[in-house]
């Protein structure tokens, strides 16, 4: 072999080597110069973890700034996952120290809701001495640390529970649409009431800590954080004193009804629950909203137990979680006569001076002839519309009901119902609380539709004269919420403005400055001339102040001269149940600032059960107004006719 071929072969080898190096350089150029920008981002994602810590929620205040929902600091023990994995005996000791089974601790540590980059709260609301013990013996508890967490607290317990609502851990359904807003699994969220409606304002901004983590998720250092911002406060139009008076009075009225005997059956009233609502007719703001039975929202804060939740949903407990003020549907009974009277005057069917001789019964002639009577067969003699309201003459309204039906060609088949709806009955009030029911005002078209949709529950598609008599006195299939009832009277006493009721009043920042006002919202304006208003005002005033008025007995001794009250009793017959007791009132009668609606389920006459409850609420308001000094006495049950 010659020197030349050897050199040639070395040359070949050199070329191979050179080309290999060129390949490496080309690839290096590609990765670091051409593809670098896109891959750099990936390196960034690799190493940065973001940890969210929820901010304390904003408070909920009453109209005078009294705190209805607050936060409290609780002591918690947290476990560093890595450390306790290294020192499992730490958890054994903790389990013994706190009396929490080891499996429970392990479950919490394994819970994926907790960020893997921050310690897991294994025990919340730990007694102070136990926490101090752990801190003093930190050598025995490696990986366990004590810290303070904030959680929702309702300092007044059950007070205004249905209005305030509850908070709880976000579920998958809630999380889906809220992900863009930065919610994470495990977050606390408003579940009902104001907590839900004003969630965005109350929530605040979580602390966002950026951490550098290594390939197995260990935190290396902080890359800075944005501190948590507590949520904004929400001020309600609720007045804590009126709210308390409403709840207490309602409870007393219910307890009293249970001790009373039903005149018709001779059995005590069941009185499973009820509702009392106080609104300001001038802007639709809600001053009090009571629903009975009630619950304690504090039970929900750290996740309610399945057993307790089942208890609260047991039919035997009459569903304390339901807010009857906006979800309970009741036949309005005679309180509905507001709508019938208004419709009659508006349509020109009667004038204020037209009278009818009430002899205690009204007979419909024709093929389906039948007789309708007043409650307890009372005879009221010659009554005009005002007197008919005052004494609650059903016969007068039966007469109107038939005349409406006879004139349906001219006035339409639902003249009364249209007026009722213009007062907000049977339609959503659009209040700023969730899960409201709309109810219904029954009419021929609705009857037909109901029959079509639910033929078994509503077997008759036709509308007869008798049905028009029933609607005229608020009986039949009509069902409205207590809030709708209050709101309809508000839309009358304020001269025709139907407001969307509001519980929220303003959103406040941490310094108490108003960030946003919840403006009054007028849903519609009804044209109510004096020719309609005057006779009705007179009639409702008579209910309370005229000795023949159905509410006269309930208001005996009330300072009517200083604080004039007007109102209407209602007693609704419900198939298969005892009568629903209703009462609506407004005060002062000459320039109303308060409308009260009280509904008690299966409690008897409106005059007997609901009116005394409303009276006690108004007494509390009178005290607040400085009109009366005597604290409200206990609710009394009175006899009555409606």
């Amino acid at each position: 072999m010659t020197q030349d071929t050897s050199r040639l072969r070395l040359g070949v080898l050199g070329m191979v080597v050179l080309s290999l190096f060129c390949a490496l350089l080309a690839r290096l150029w590609y990765l670091q110069v051409l593809a670098s920008p896109t891959l750099k981002v990936e390196a960034q994602h690799n190493s940065v973890a973001v940890v969210y810590t929820e901010a304390p929620r904003g408070r909920i205040l009453d109209r005078n700034g009294k705190v209805l929902a607050d936060n409290r600091v609780v002591l918690a023990l947290v476990a560093d996952r890595e450390e306790v994995a290294k020192f499992p005996e730490s958890l054994d000791r903790l389990s013994a120290h706190l009396g929490i089974p080891r499996v429970v601790l392990d479950e919490r540590i394994a819970d994926e809701r907790f960020s893997r980059f921050k310690p897991v709260p294994v025990a919340v609301d730990v007694p102070k001495d136990k926490l101090i013990y752990v801190r003093e013996h930190f050598g025995d508890f490696p990986g366990i640390e004590g810290l303070q967490l904030t959680e929702r607290v309702y300092p007044n317990g059950t007070l205004a529970a249905h209005v305030l609502g509850t908070v709880g851990e976000i579920n998958d359904e809630e999380l889906g649409p809220r992900k863009p807003a930065g919610y994470k699994a495990g977050d606390t969220i408003g579940k009902s009431g104001i907590e839900l409606t004003y969630e965005e304002d109350l929530r605040g901004e979580p602390e966002i800590a950026k951490l550098e983590v290594d390939s197995i998720g260990r935190v290396q250092r902080s890359l800075g954080s944005r501190p948590a911002v507590q949520g904004n406060d929400v001020r309600l139009s609720i007045d804590i004193d009126i709210q308390r008076a409403a709840e207490e009075s309602l409870e007393q009225g219910i307890q009293l009804a249970r001790k009373s005997t039903d005149f018709l059956t001779g059995k005590p009233f069941i009185a499973p629950g009820g509702s009392a609502v106080v609104t300001d007719p001038r802007d639709g703001s809600v001053l009090a909203m009571a629903s009975n039975p009630t619950f304690n929202p504090n039970e929900f804060t750290n996740g309610i137990s399945v057993r307790r939740f089942a208890e609260l949903n047991d039919p035997a407990g009459h569903y304390p979680l339901n807010n009857r003020a906006i979800q309970g549907l009741y036949a309005p009974g005679s309180t509905f006569k507001l709508a019938t009277s208004m419709a009659a005057l508006k349509s020109g069917l009667i004038t204020a001076r037209d009278t009818y001789n009430d002899q205690g019964a009204y007979t419909v002639t024709g093929e389906r002839s039948s007789t309708f009577t007043n409650a307890r067969g009372a005879r009221n003699g010659m009554v005009d519309v005002s007197k008919a309201l005052t004494v609650s003459s059903d016969v007068f309204y039966y007469w109107l009901g038939e005349r409406f039906w006879d004139n349906r060609g001219r006035l339409g088949t639902a003249a009364i119902q249209d007026v009722a709806r213009s007062l907000g009955m049977g339609v959503y009030t659009d209040i700023d609380l969730p899960f409201e029911s709309n109810g219904r005002v029954s009419d021929p078209a609705g009857r037909e539709k109901l029959h079509k949709d639910y033929p078994e529950a509503f077997p008759y598609p036709e509308w007869y004269t008798g049905d028009n008599l029933n609607i005229a006195v608020g009986q039949g299939d009509t069902a409205i919420t207590p809030l709708q009832l209050a709101n309809s009277y508000a839309a009358f006493v304020n001269g025709g403005a139907l407001f969307a009721p509001r519980v929220g009043q303003a959103v406040l920042d941490r310094q108490g400055q108003e960030l946003r006002r919840v403006d009054a919202k007028v849903l519609r304006r009804n044209d109510l001339p004096a020719s309609i208003l005057e006779p009705l005002f007179a009639g409702f005033r008579g209910v309370v102040s005229d000795p023949t008025g159905t509410g006269f007995g309930a208001f005996a001794g009330f300072p009517l001269a200083a604080f004039p009250v007007a109102g209407k009793t209602g007693t609704a017959e419900v198939g298969g149940k005892q009568d629903t007791s209703l009462f609506t009132a407004y005060a002062p009668a000459n320039a109303p600032r308060y409308v009260v609606a009280v509904v008690l389920e299966e409690a008897g006459l409106g005059a007997s059960a609901a009116a005394p409850v409303a009276r006690r609420v108004l007494e509390a308001i009178a005290v607040k107004e400085g009109i009366s000094t005597a604290p409200p006495a206990a609710v009394n049950r009175v006899d009555g006719r409606d």
């Binding site: 072999m1 071929t5 050897s6 050199r7 072969r9 070395l10 070949v12 080898l13 050199g14 080597v17 290999l20 190096f21 390949a23 490496l24 350089l25 690839r27 290096l28 150029w29 990765l31 670091q32 110069v33 593809a35 670098s36 896109t38 891959l39 750099k40 990936e42 390196a43 960034q44 690799n46 190493s47 550098e212 983590v213 290594d214 390939s215 197995i216 260990r218 290396q220």
Partner: protein
């Protein structure tokens, strides 16, 4: 009194360029080993400089090996080739006996106190000597007999390493054999047949399931990184992300997040180049490859200038060993060659490889400085 000046004295012909480039690479290596281990060590509560210190010790050991080899005329070393070869084969036999220890399914180490010694690394250099000796002895073009003798010589250690198993080291062996045979004058036909055989062998090993699954995954992950979301392509992906994250200028020494946060597995050993790529950038990577280029060029030059065929073939063997390892190792971190456990010469953490690489350089320096004597 001064010794008489001898223009042919070996000490006057030491290739300082080669020596200094090699030292430069090794120095960068020590630094990068430190960079890629200090954070992890610190997290574990251990001495952050642990790997730095050990790698420095390995460097000193490597330099000692280089000096030792440089002192003895390579023609004397040739006489010991049969002995060295026998010793290497014996060591490879012992390492697969219960005397050896295994790590991750490969039994390739002797545990010596706190250190592990990997005989297959040193046997690469021994094989170069033995191959060069047998091929240089053939004189003129290699006939079939000489070829078969050379192949037989390579076969024994390769078979023992296959048992360990260590596919990467065997690939280095194959590269060395082909390069030495090429320059030694093997007929082009033989070279072609050998290359074909090698490729077929690898294909058979991969296809016939003679590899563990993880080995096959590693080998094939670079062909289609999307095909396997397991460990292998994770390595590959993270390694490329690290290099790309460096960009042109790099993130600065000790500043790489991929490096500090241990996103690249085995970074201080097989994936050391990713630390260079991320922290020193394209400029750093280019410089490092440049230094390797200089080293390879000086070895090639030594082969060209060598006084005899044995010296030339030794240089060619060392050249093939280093080039294959550089290409395969750097290539795998960038996703253009399969992932095999081959260290980057002078850079990767590890004593045996360091000693073997420096021994190779020692041989080249030896051949080069004694070209006039």
């Amino acid at each position: 009194m001064q010794a008489p000046r001898n223009p042919a004295a070996p000490v006057r012909h030491v290739d300082l360029t080669l020596l200094l480039s090699t030292l430069g690479i090794a120095f960068i290596g020590v630094l990068m080993v430190y960079s890629s281990t200090r954070q992890k060590q610190e997290n574990a509560g251990l001495d952050p400089a642990f790997f730095l210190k050990r790698q420095a010790v390995f460097l000193v050991l490597g330099l000692l090996a280089l000096a030792l080899i440089g002192l003895v005329d390579y023609r004397r070393i040739r006489d010991f080739a049969p002995l060295l070869y026998g010793g290497a084969v014996l060591a490879l036999l012992l390492v697969i006996s219960p005397l050896g220890t295994s790590r991750r399914g490969t039994q390739a180490w002797f545990q010596l106190g706190g250190f592990q010694f990997q005989p297959s690394e040193v046997s690469k250099v021994v094989l170069i000597l033995a191959l060069a000796a047998i091929c240089a002895g053939a004189r003129g073009s290699l006939d079939t007999t000489a070829l078969m003798a050379a192949l037989g010589l390579a076969f024994v250690p390769m078979a023992l390493i296959y048992i360990q198993p260590d596919l990467g080291t065997n690939m280095v062996f194959a590269a060395v054999v082909i390069a030495v045979l090429l320059v030694a004058g093997a007929r082009p036909r033989h070279i072609a047949v050998l290359s074909l055989l090698g490729i077929t062998a690898i294909a058979l090993i991969v296809e016939l399931g003679m590899l563990q699954d993880y080995q096959r995954d590693r080998l094939t992950a670079f062909l289609d990184p999307q095909a396997d979301s397991q460990r292998s392509s994770y390595n590959l992906r993270q390694s490329q992300i690290a290099i790309a994250a460096g960009g042109v200028a790099g993130r600065g020494l000790f500043q790489g997040t991929q490096t500090n946060l241990s996103f690249v597995p085995e970074q201080h050993t097989d994936f050391i180049f990713t630390a260079v790529g991320e922290e020193l950038g394209f400029i750093g990577g280019l410089s490092l490859l440049g230094l390797f280029g200089v080293v390879v060029w000086r070895i090639w030059r030594a082969a060209v200038l060598a006084r005899d065929q044995f010296g030339r073939l030794v240089c060619v063997g060392v050249l093939a060993m280093l080039v294959f390892q550089i290409f395969e190792n750097v290539g795998m971190t960038m996703g253009i060659t399969p992932i095999t456990g081959i260290p980057l010469p002078f850079m990767s953490y590890g004593g045996s490889a360091m000693i073997a690489s420096f021994a190779g350089i020692g041989l080249v320096l030896n051949v080069h400085m004694r070209r006039f004597t």
